[in-house]
């Protein structure tokens, strides 16, 4: 049996209520996990001697605004002994954008969770050091949210040079 199928079976056996769906697309399997069970699911996948998903390859999020549930946190796990990827998806509603940290299972989740917090404003409950990592500490807003504008700077030509110059925030006396 394929290792991914076995992982899904083991997860379903141990925590049936926490796995509402399993999606397959282009040969990749994504297990949908309820937020409160994510740390437990990761621990199970890492410690089970038949699976040993010991490497957290990536951790990111997607914003589906204005749909609900608005966010999905994506965990990309890899098993170095078995050489297989497995994805976990945690859907989150915009009213409760909170998920427990998995720092206790994979230490390197620390910065990845900080990045998701920085870019999407998703809170990781129990995180040891949840600060912004890429944006400046006093930044307002979360840039990768879909309702956050991209922003442009208007190109200066001779005809609009003065107009743009007037709007520039020069230092005041």
């Amino acid at each position: 049996m394929d290792l991914v199928d076995r992982a899904v079976e083991i997860l379903r056996g141990k925590m049936k209520d926490a796995i509402p769906a399993v999606e397959t697309f282009r040969g990749e399997t994504a297990v949908v996990v309820r937020p409160e069970a994510i740390a437990e699911a990761c621990r199970l996948l890492r410690d089970d001697p038949r699976l040993r998903f010991d490497f957290l390859a990536a951790l990111t999020a997607v914003d589906y605004w204005p749909d609900e549930p608005r966010f999905a946190v994506v965990y990309e796990l890899y098993s170095i002994p078995h050489r297989v990827f497995l994805r976990l998806r945690v859907p989150l509603s915009s009213t409760a954008a909170e998920v427990p940290t998995i720092e206790g299972v994979y230490p390197n989740a620390n910065w990845h969770e900080r990045e998701v917090f920085d870019m999407f404003g998703i809170t990781f409950v129990g995180h040891s050091d949840l600060r912004r990592v890429l944006m400046p500490f006093d930044w307002v807003g979360h840039p990768l949210r879909k309702d956050y504008p991209l922003g442009y700077e208007e190109v200066q030509f001779s005809f609009n040079h003065e107009e743009i110059d007037r709007k520039k925030p020069y230092a005041q006396e």
């Binding site: 697309f25 282009r26 990749e28 994504a30 010991d54 490497f55 957290l56 390859a57 990536a58 990111t60 997607v62 914003d63 994506v74 990309e76 890899y78 170095i80 050489r83 990827f85 994805r87 994979y106 230490p107 390197n108 620390n110 910065w111 990045e115 040891s128 050091d129 600060r131 912004r132 990592v133 890429l134 944006m135 400046p136 500490f137 006093d138 930044w139 307002v140 807003g141 840039p143 990768l144 956050y148 504008p149 991209l150």
Partner: protein, 410 residues
């Protein structure tokens, strides 16, 4: 958007340093962002007890350019240009991983000739990237001449990239479905010339460093990390293999035709700075082997898929084919749509696992692009590696992780 003043209090940051720092027994020192040994704009807040590093707090984001956000506003093909700019020493490899993700998402096949040329160019880029790493790493450890030799050879590789794409660094040469164009006639002699020349040059570098007692003193038993810890902290690539973990994505999850080539995965035993050096030096030799095999077996044929829904037709067809004109117009104005769904593709960059998570929503623009970059992962292991070492060793440790800040901050 309303701007409000955000204050950061001492209490919020107190947990990052030890209690001695608050009593003034240890010293807090800024290293960077403009420090030559941080290889870019990396700021390290160091807590020092004399010369010893008690705590090291990396502060990144100085090179954050919002590439992921920008890519969401562009078509799949336009966004390709931005991938070059993330890891600016592995430009071809970034194009490759992004194109692999698109090809997986829309199920697009690539002709064998394009695959082979992709492999040649990615491996040459790997050598070029390792040369910059070796040059700066040696320079940090006060070996000035190695820097000059490495940049001399790197120039040969950049010339080859220029022959293919017209650009030395930001090539954007690999495109979804193949390559931008076929390689010109000068390509093969230039690569063969490099293959003839380079093995002797690696020996030259090794003569300068490998048995040099000064170099060994500065690198042996510095920043030792066990294989298990390295996996836990997300190290990948040469930094992980130096700790003895046999994991190379080119072998483990073969992509882009790498399974056709014979090469070995060099491993270290001690997981220190010196072993990371040895592993990377050996990797350059293995890359040469791959390039040699790919060049010897370079198949003839087209370099772009003929699936016109995704790959633009050649210009010559536009004059006499109505259908080609329509495809050309559609692809260059609107772009091609990708189905709803997500894929994750990982490739071995010179630094480690470079992953691309790509999600489509049925439209012509990527709904979400995420790059899992090795430098970001490696930087968060820096505090663990640096603990207890001297400031001078910290310079060697940063060098041995081979970080690129454009890669970490994106």
């Amino acid at each position: 958007m309303a701007f409000e003043q955000v204050e950061v209090t001492v209490d919020e940051l107190k947990h990052l340093v030890s209690n001695q720092a608050l009593e003034g027994e240890t010293m807090l020192l800024n290293m960077g962002p403009q420090h030559p040994s941080t290889h870019g704009v990396l700021r390290l807040l160091l807590e020092l007890d004399g010369e010893r590093v008690v705590n090291c707090i990396p502060d990144i984001g100085y090179l954050h350019t919002g590439i992921e956000k920008n890519m969401e506003a562009k078509t799949y093909l336009q966004a390709l240009v931005m991938t070059d700019r993330t890891d600016y020493l592995n430009t071809v490899g970034n194009n490759l991983v992004y194109c692999l993700a698109i090809e997986k998402l829309v199920e697009l096949d690539v002709p064998p000739r394009a695959l082979a040329i992709r492999v040649i160019l990615t491996e040459l880029t790997r050598i070029a990237s390792h040369l910059v790493w070796l040059a700066t790493h040696a320079l940090d450890l006060a070996a000035m001449s190695v820097f000059l030799y490495c940049f001399r050879e790197r120039e040969l590789i950049l010339d080859i990239l220029e022959i293919c794409s017209g650009q030395r660094m930001m090539t954007s040469y690999i495109r979804p479905g193949g390559l931008w164009r076929d390689v010109p006639a000068e390509f093969e002699p230039a690569v063969r010339q490099f293959l003839r020349l380079f093995p002797a040059r690696i020996q030259q570098y090794e003569r300068l460093l490998t048995k040099n007692p000064l170099f060994i003193d500065r690198t042996r038993k510095i920043a030792v990390i066990s294989g298990e810890d390295a996996i836990g902290w997300g190290l990948s690539g040469p930094s992980l293999r130096a700790s003895g973990v046999d994991w190379d994505l080119r072998k483990a999850v073969p992509y882009g035709g790498y399974d056709q080539y014979e090469f070995e995965v060099p491993l270290g035993a001690h997981g220190d700075v010196y072993d990371r050096y040895i592993v990377r030096m050996e990797e350059m030799r293995q890359s040469l082997r791959i390039v040699q095999q790919a060049l010897d077996r370079l198949p003839a044929g087209p370099v772009r898929s003929d699936n016109r829904k995704f790959v633009p037709p050649p210009r010559s067809e536009l004059a006499h084919s109505m259908e080609a004109l329509i495809h050309h117009f559609k692809l260059w104005t609107e772009g091609f749509p990708a189905p709803k769904g997500a894929v994750y593709v990982a490739a071995e960059s010179p630094r480690g696992e470079l992953g691309c998570y790509l999600e489509g929503d049925g439209g012509p623009r990527p709904y979400r692009v995420y790059f899992r970059t090795p430098s970001f992962a490696h930087l968060q292991a820096l505090p663990i590696l640096a603990k207890g070492h001297l400031v001078a060793d910290l310079v060697a440790i940063i060098g041995s992780l081979d970080i690129v800040l454009g890669d970490a901050d994106r």
